[in-house]
């Protein structure tokens, strides 16, 4: 190819890490907690355990929980 595209110089270089573990740690902790909450509400709320009373949350995401493979009832 006579005209190199912009990606090629970067692709030729060996991959270098984008951030140090120290810089990444707070992101990991925060995102890990958010992930746990998201999975909890989609996957387990009002099945095995419950934060809200009633079954509105359970019923709303009920089909998603089944089809994502979480135990439901």
């Amino acid at each position: 190819m006579s005209t190199p595209t912009a990606i090629e110089p970067a692709a030729e270089r060996a991959p270098i890490p984008v951030a140090s573990p120290r810089e990444l740690l707070p992101y990991w902790i925060f995102a890990g907690i958010v992930l746990m909450f998201a999975i909890y509400f989609v996957g387990a709320e009002e099945g095995a355990t419950a934060v809200f009373s009633g079954s509105g949350v359970h019923e709303l995401v009920h089909d998603a929980r089944h089809l994502l493979g979480f135990p439901c009832h």
């Binding site: 595209t5 912009a6 990606i7 970067a10 692709a11 060996a14 991959p15 270098i16 890490p17 984008v18 951030a19 573990p21 810089e23 990444l24 992101y27 990991w28 995102a31 890990g32 958010v34 992930l35 998201a38 999975i39 509400f41 989609v42 996957g43 387990a44 099945g47 095995a48 355990t49 009633g54 079954s55 509105g56 019923e59 709303l60 995401v61 009920h62 089909d63 998603a64 929980r65 089944h66 089809l67 994502l68 493979g69 979480f70 135990p71 439901c72 009832h73």
Partner: protein, 252 residues
Amino acid sequence: MVRTLLVRGMLVGLVAGLLAFVWAYLVGEPPVKAAIAVEEAAAAAAGEVDSAPPEVSRDVQSTLGLLLGILIFATAVGGFLGLVFAMVYGRIGQLRARATALVLCSAAFVCIAIVPLTKYPANPPAVGSGDTIGERTGWFFVLIVIAIVAAVAAGRTIRDLSPRWGVGNAVAAGLTLFVGLIIVAHLALPNENEVAPPFPPQILWDFRLANLGTQAIIWAALAFGFGHAAERAIAGQPLLGRRDRATATSPV
């Protein structure tokens, strides 16, 4: 760079969730409806008539609720994938962005979908006892954690053995270690089987295939979509647009 990877991970996760929703709605809802019909027929035969309507109607559960649940899950795992990518890129051998994303998503698919499927497979509505849902949910998550720990151990084994044994042999050793640890976990964890004999096996099979497909679509879309997005992020290019014009504009 971490910000860009996080944002793109969530965006690709959102798209992956939309694709998975289409599959789950078209392929997954028929066996769910069939299972509920079986449950209601059994209840009617036993003389138990459940006259109270559900808090959320079945129509909402099978459309909006399904979409919402899958989007929350896929967006959350997509964002976390972006951060895991930021941690491991450039640190697992000479793997480039697309290959790194493919390795991460393959490992996640095995740990979150395949391993639980072989021990605590998903069940449609109408299958399951309320008495054991607590322990079944608990063991399900314990098995996923064990699978992730085993995958990390396998990854470190591959990294440490590669210089001495060569990459091929090191990968074989790592995979053997992973499968061995999962077999031990299978034997050690308690069995749970909630499927009672009169339940039609075809509905169960269709449902479990639909579950596998939903997870496969999410992780395949993340592997290829995020691989593409991360490659462009590392090259300093925007998520969308032509590559040759891309250098003139700033990244997301």
